[in-house]
């Protein structure tokens, strides 16, 4: 009995570690400690699972220890090597692995039928469904973020209808399996597995670019829910608690990201960004965007009172966060007030820009959120847009025909001057033309963001 007490205590402490750890994440000062608490909780839980007395257990510890060793080395090495700019990919792939793990557990359960009750079978099927979608959906999200596939190449015509048919088909097969119960046919089960995996791919396929933060949050929530469902299979409360917490976190982030774009989740899922927008490119064809030279840009920045930097995904692609901080330091040394405006959906995952700037040692009180930044913009001398596009697009406010109409954006044109760093005039990832580029106050600085900022740094040093 004593051993049972300690096992249960370890699981309980594990759950407390998860909750307490997430609670400490509410402040940057305590966040690191929180992560360690959650990690210790996980460690306790794993030890408990290893030594818990099981009836008729063969243990097979060799297999388990081997698996843990392989997983720990692979996870540890990739965690250490990964670039901060590649964090969305990393989170996606890890997320997919969690889903895959739940799929494996559900499949074994359904083949072995160790709990052939209606409830047990239903839960295992649910685990398989959610885990399968999370698995392949995350893999595709990873491939997209890594630049391995492009949205247009994997999106079929009438993709939304195909998705709907796939989803209904998958659910029908699931219900058939449930009705077959303990005598379910292996062929049909494999069909179900195949369908969930295909649906995972297919549902992420048309979603891309600026909608990526929503998808990643949603997949995160799916993985959590599949872990929780797997916890029900094994009657393990800790798996249930951990899974639900992750599910809650993913759901909250999904909702926040949707709110930041002023769109419903359904609209994001079926709405393919940039596909529509009949009036998007209208009337901008013959306008010319004015350029600024490196030298002029540096002088303007040097003699201004206040500068607001607006980072976007381009900052991550160009790995320009450190040189950005150099510009910041040189300007601050000359008494210029430098702030950063962070749009909630800038980048490819929630909080993406914050992490990059943290890596470059930008103190977080200098980062303004959407509302604070918009309050400060009318009193700002120069806005420097580094690789952001849709989040500074005035069409969102004044062009009802634009696909991003209604999305809250950073009103950078309210500042005295704007400089946009961009590689070329091509419209952004979402394929939407940006009238800001032709605005009177705006000047373009063409070139790779890291390269351009590097040149600005050397100019500033010469002033």
């Amino acid at each position: 009995m004593a051993i049972d007490f300690f096992i249960n205590l370890a699981y309980l402490l594990g759950a407390v570690g998860f909750v307490w750890g997430l609670r400490l994440l509410s402040s940057p000062d305590t966040a690191r400690r929180g992560n360690i608490y959650a990690g210790v909780g996980m460690g306790l839980a794993i030890i408990a699972a290893l030594v818990a007395p099981l009836e008729g257990a063969n243990n097979n510890y060799g297999w388990i220890i081997g698996g843990i060793a392989v997983g720990a080395v692979a996870g540890g090495i990739s965690a250490r090597r990964i670039q901060m700019t590649a964090m969305p990919q990393m989170v996606s792939i890890f997320n997919g692995l969690g889903g895959a793990c739940a799929v494996v557990l559900a499949m074994v359960e359904l083949v072995n039928m160790s709990n052939p009750t209606a409830g047990g079978i239903g839960i295992a099927l649910l685990t398989l469904l959610i885990g399968g979608v999370a698995f392949t959906g995350s893999l595709l999200a990873f491939a997209k973020l890594q630049g391995l596939v492009w949205d247009s190449t994997i999106t079929l015509p009438k993709h939304n209808i195909i998705n709907m048919v796939l989803l209904v088909g998958t659910l029908v097969v699931g219900v058939l399996l449930y009705l077959q119960g303990a005598e379910m046919s292996l062929g049909l089960l494999l069909t179900f597995l195949g369908l969930t995996l295909v649906y995972g791919f297919s549902f992420v396929a048309p979603i891309g670019g600026a909608d990526m933060p929503v998808v990643i949050s949603l997949l995160n929530s799916f993985t959590g829910l599949s872990a929780a469902a797997a916890g029900l299979i094994y009657g393990n409360q800790l798996m249930l608690v951990g899974g639900i917490l992750v599910g809650a976190s993913g759901t909250i982030l999904t909702v926040l990201m949707c709110e930041a774009m002023n769109r419903s989740l359904l609209n994001v899922l079926v709405g393919g960004f940039g596909g529509g927008g009949s009036s998007a490119a209208k009337g901008t064809g013959d306008q010319v965007a004015k350029e600024v030279t490196i030298n002029d840009a540096a002088i303007q920045l040097y003699y201004s009172q206040s500068v607001m930097i607006v980072p976007g995904y381009g900052l991550a692609v160009a790995q320009a966060q450190k040189v950005c901080k150099e510009v910041d330091d040189l300007l601050e040394a000359n008494g210029v007030d430098v702030k950063y405006a962070i749009h909630p959906v800038a980048g490819r995952m929630p909080g993406h820009m914050n992490v990059l700037l943290a890596e470059a040692d930008v103190p977080y009180p200098k980062l303004l959120d959407l509302d604070d930044a918009n309050d400060a913009l009318p009193n700002t001398d120069i806005v420097v847009v580094v690789g952001a596009n849709d989040v500074v697009n005035p069409s969102a406010l004044d062009d009802p025909g634009s696909p991003i109409y209604g999305m809250p954006v950073l009103n950078v044109w309210e500042a005295k001057h704007v400089i946009v760093l961009k590689r070329s005039m091509s419209p952004g990832y979402a394929g939407i033309q940006n009238p800001l580029f032709f605005h009177d106050k705006n000047r373009m600085l063409f070139g790779d963001a890291k390269d351009s900022l590097g040149k600005v740094v050397s100019e500033l040093k010469n002033l």
Partner: protein, 105 residues
């Protein structure tokens, strides 16, 4: 209907746990500031690696010559462990950067 009543009555504690965890999760996580959303995601990711417990229990209960279950369980442990180890390590790396700046100020 009777089966639903019965299920509810028999699993009352589990249902309480489920509902309170959902409420607690939403309360705790809605307090996380925007600055920390990426570490929140990767930390949550690590926590979802808790499925590894299921994989461990699966292997322990398998027959020593049931190589299919053992291999699948092994795969499950590897997948779960990558999630756990990688997730916590990368979150720690990120949070260290946030802390460093505070010290400098």
């Amino acid at each position: 209907m009777d089966t639903i009543y019965q299920f509810f009555n028999e699993n009352l504690l589990l249902i309480y746990l489920l509902i309170f965890t959902i409420i607690l999760g939403f309360e705790v996580i809605s307090k996380v500031p925007t600055v920390l959303h990426t570490p929140l995601m990767s930390g949550a990711n690590a926590i979802s690696g808790v499925v590894i417990i299921g994989a461990i229990l699966l292997i322990r209960q398998a027959e020593p010559d049931d190589y299919l279950t053992l291999s699948l369980g092994f795969l499950g442990v590897v997948l779960g462990m990558v999630n756990v180890a990688g997730g916590f390590a990368v979150t720690d790396r990120m949070l260290e950067m946030f802390k460093k700046k505070k010290a400098k100020k």
